[in-house]
């Protein structure tokens, strides 16, 4: 995350004390590079290591010529994070980020500070809300429990000034793009991969438009960058409620 539009103040408060503690514990461990295995206790999210959805039609992981030992030495995020194992964990991770984005835009539009730019941002707000719905439905369909929506607390200036808001939006979108791309090679089910990719592309559109509105380079790289779960969690840690 390149900017810190919130000046280190918290934006996220979890609705559930256990969620918050688990998240903070996880973030702290990530921060010091510790083993993630110790930070696993989000039982609510996933004792439901739900049966992997139908392998038919999905690219076979075992048939993939991916090199053995390719998962990073620091530990693959899937299976070791607070969000749970496997594709369900990835979906819950995505859902958490989409919750954050959805509420951010909802409040931004409600503040009525965007002027002409509202026409570009109104559809974005609708997309993020749709992503929340889609991910929740997918998790439910898989027999998993979607993460509960955290309570987000945004600094007061976020919604009083258009420039601050747009800059924060750039940060969230770029974080979201990198987060999705980081999970692409880890998703096992073909249908879930397709769905996640189809969302990621929309986040890329958002990022480009918001950068444009913020007078920033709208395509900073010729390929999208990617971030691990660890990196993403670290990035949003400064925004976590105390």
């Amino acid at each position: 995350m390149n900017q810190d539009p919130f000046e280190g103040r918290s934006v996220i408060q979890f609705s559930d004390e256990r969620d918050r503690r688990a998240f903070l514990k996880y973030a702290a461990l990530v921060g010091v590079g510790g083993s993630l295995a110790a930070a696993l206790p989000m039982t609510k999210v996933l004792a439901a290591t739900s049966p992997s959805p139908s392998p038919s039609g999905s690219p076979s992981p075992s048939g993939s010529p991916s090199p053995s030992g390719s998962p990073s030495p620091s530990g693959s995020p899937s299976g070791s994070s607070q969000f749970g194992a496997g594709d369900v964990g990835i979906l819950n991770y995505a859902l958490t980020l989409e919750y954050l984005e959805a509420e951010f835009y909802q409040k931004g539009l409600a503040a009525n500070i965007l002027g002409d730019d509202a026409k570009y941002i109104t559809p974005i707000a609708a997309h993020e809300a749709a992503h929340v719905t889609a991910l929740t439905a997918t998790l439910t369909k898989l027999g998993a429990t979607p993460v509960t929506k955290p309570t987000f607390v945004f600094p007061p200036t976020t919604f009083t000034d258009k420039a601050t808001f747009v800059k924060a939006a750039v940060t969230f979108e770029e974080t979201g793009v990198k987060a999705y791309h980081g999970q692409v090679p880890l998703i096992k089910d073909g249908a879930i991969l397709g769905a996640a990719a189809s969302i990621a592309g929309v986040e890329s559109r958002h990022a480009a438009v918001l950068n444009y509105l913020a007078q920033m380079p709208p395509v900073p790289n010729p390929v999208e960058q990617h971030a691990t779960m660890d990196e993403t969690v670290t990035a949003i840690k400064p925004f976590l409620g105390a």
């Binding site: 039609g57 997309h127 249908a191 438009v209």
Partner: protein
């Protein structure tokens, strides 16, 4: 993270595009040691990369020609178009290098022709740019479920996202309607390979070396004197099939 094709290399920086954009050595070795015959397999990763390479050649050439005109005058818009051109050229280079590393012959650059009116006005240029970028987005997404190698998958996804950025930016510059123009809904829509080929075939004169079997070419879709609007309409028509599953 996995051995990503491009993230460890200089490809990341805008300054050093070109040489470094190839698949990581250990992965390439692993791939080459498999029994898979890349060139022969129908819908292999190599085939998909060559399909993507053809599209990138088309896009790169399109912007090289369009940006050589004086159709875009605003300095910020010129910057964006220059960036897009560089991106497409980088994609060509990266795909070529990766195919070579895989031991698969990259398709030769096809002969590319554009209708005379393509670069006649700013509007005509922007209109076809929108078509190409959105077709590219759908094309990459349509192949996502078919790519077997995770490194190649991540790299292709990385390009896909950039095509989506381009599509949105050209939409903004065009003054397109936000929803339905700049954005295409809450999710991107995949386009099947055959549909993509049919859409771009009018621009690929002769198809001498594109590597696609004749059966995949819908030659009767080559309208004489194709207008840009026709191509756009064709793409729209393909898109309306809509709810195709990504992995199909």
């Amino acid at each position: 993270m996995l051995n990503s094709i491009w993230n460890r290399r200089s490809f990341l920086g805008r300054t050093a595009i070109g040489a470094g954009a190839v698949i990581g050595g250990s992965t390439a070795i692993e791939l080459l040691s498999t029994t898979r015959v890349w060139a022969a397999a129908e819908g292999s990763d190599g085939d998909i990369l060559n399909f993507a390479l053809t599209l990138e050649y088309l896009e790169a050439t399109f912007y090289e020609r369009g940006n050589a005109t004086s159709l875009i005058t605003d300095s910020r818009e010129k910057d964006i178009f220059a960036t897009i051109q560089k991106d497409e050229e980088a994609h060509v280079q990266a795909l070529t290098d990766t195919l070579t590393k895989l031991g698969v012959a990259p398709v030769a650059k096809p002969t590319i022709t554009f209708p005379a009116a393509t670069f006649a006005t700013r509007e005509s240029y922007l209109k076809l740019a929108m078509v190409f970028e959105n077709t590219g987005v759908g094309a990459y997404l349509g192949q996502a479920g078919s790519i077997t190698n995770k490194d190649i998958l991540q790299a292709a996804a990385g390009i896909f996202g950039i095509e989506a950025r381009h599509a949105a930016l050209i939409g903004v510059i065009s003054g397109a309607t936000p929803e339905g123009g700049i954005y295409k809904g809450a999710t991107e829509t995949p386009i099947a390979k055959a549909d993509v080929l049919a859409a771009v075939m009018p621009f690929l004169g002769g198809m001498p070396n594109t590597g696609f079997a004749p059966s995949q070419q819908s030659l009767n879709l080559l309208p004489t004197g194709l207008a840009i609007a026709g191509a756009a309409a064709a793409v729209v028509a393909f898109r309306t099939r809509g709810s195709r599953k990504p992995q199909q």
